[in-house]
Symmetry: C2
DNA sequence: GGAGATAAAACGGTATACCGTTTTACGAGA
DNA sequence: TCTCGTAAAACGGTATACCGTTTTATCTCC
């Protein structure tokens, strides 16, 4: 299970707020995130804002100019290509590593699928979709692999968010597609064959790309 | 080529200093890195130290406790296993992606090997060895892949450093082994076949592990 | 002598202030 | 009108100070 998002410190809550604004599109790509301005707007000092911006940079949602100014990242198609290649290699690896652990712990995946079916918006489906994949990374047992994947997650979320806003994806279809695919994966995982688990995820991601609206 | 390490800001130079102390073993695993103490010792304020510690955490050299205190990371064997699995998957991928670019740019790899041959210490050989691999990641053209690898590099360096200090590796042997292996890789790269380049690197890393002194 | 309470010291989180650099906006001259 | 220069405003880097929490060390009681 992913960590509980409990923004205890002001740095964390600032990061959460900005993350939300960026992923939701409220903050447009290329926008300057000036420390003082953000600080004043959120009612905190510059220090937590500064740290939040560093965090968001690590997540790929923010980009620093050579002179240290933070901007909302503007993803291009080639950025997406990079992300895609990495997913295509990291996730199957995770599935292979996780295979031996697929004895009892499939329950968390099943719960996720159930939640996905209950979801009421495209946004929610997307979030649960990503969580499904993150669960697999988590089950791989390789904490660094999980961290690497997480460092890509923000950008992925950003890209998907923009895609959805552009193409007005239908909730029903996206949801049905996701649930069906994930169920198939869980079924396949029951064999616990590392090679099979790996192949399964690889093909899921290949198929996912086909399903996506025009990526260009 | 890797970025020029020009510590312009105090955050950067502080990070460099601490990095050096940690990798060299001067700062023992588990040591507390208190902001105020480090700041006073290095003659800067706590702010740059704070940022340096965050940077080093991202590099895997420092670990934060639940209450926000920074400690020099203490790597275990299973940490090394995680790193190894990731190298074994990321680097061959990079080689495959880089294959099409292996027309002229092999010169940077060749220069690296030449420098390795001129090296005069195990430490220097190790540094150039890692640089060789980083060059391949760089040539893959996938900036995120390079970033992921770099986020593992610090821990790798840390591990290798401790290994060398424990086993007093002979410079000559390590050097000869490294140079020979890297030359073979460059030779193989000339075919520019993605699959071959990928296999080459995979086998190099498998062999590298055999070569390492007792990892346990 | 050992476990627990307690007070002092250490430490991190954050606000504020200052300074040098970068950006930006405006105005003069071609 | 466009370009270039210049000054003001914006901005980030860093130092310092304050506060609440966590650690640590000491003292007490069993």
């Amino acid at each position: 299970m992913p960590k509980a998002p409990s923004p205890s410190s002001r740095s964390d809550s600032t990061a959460s707020l900005l993350r939300q604004e960026i992923v939701s599109g409220e903050a447009a790509p290329g926008n300057l995130l000036a420390e003082a301005a953000v600080a004043q707007r959120l009612g905190v000092s510059r220090v937590p804002v500064r740290e939040a911006l560093f965090t968001l940079e690590r997540e790929g949602l923010v980009e620093f100019s050579a002179t240290g100014r933070a901007f909302v990242k503007d993803l291009t198609t080639s950025d997406f290509e990079e992300l895609y290649v990495l997913r295509l290699n990291l996730e199957p690896l995770a599935a292979r590593l996780a295979a031996p652990h697929f004895k009892k712990d499939l329950s968390s995946l099943e719960e996720n699928v159930a939640a996905t079916q209950r979801a009421k918006s495209v946004h929610e489906v997307t979030r649960l979709d990503l969580e499904f994949h993150e669960l697999i990374l988590h089950m791989s047992g390789n904490t660094r692999l999980l961290k690497l994947w997480r460092s890509l997650r923000g950008e992925l979320e950003l890209w998907l968010g923009r895609l959805h806003r552009q193409h007005q994806l239908q909730t029903r279809e996206t949801q049905a597609q996701t649930v069906e695919a994930h169920r198939g994966i869980i079924e396949g995982f029951k064999t616990q064959t590392p090679a099979a688990c790996e192949r399964l995820l690889r093909e899921h991601i290949l198929g996912w790309r086909e399903w996506l609206p025009i990526v260009s």
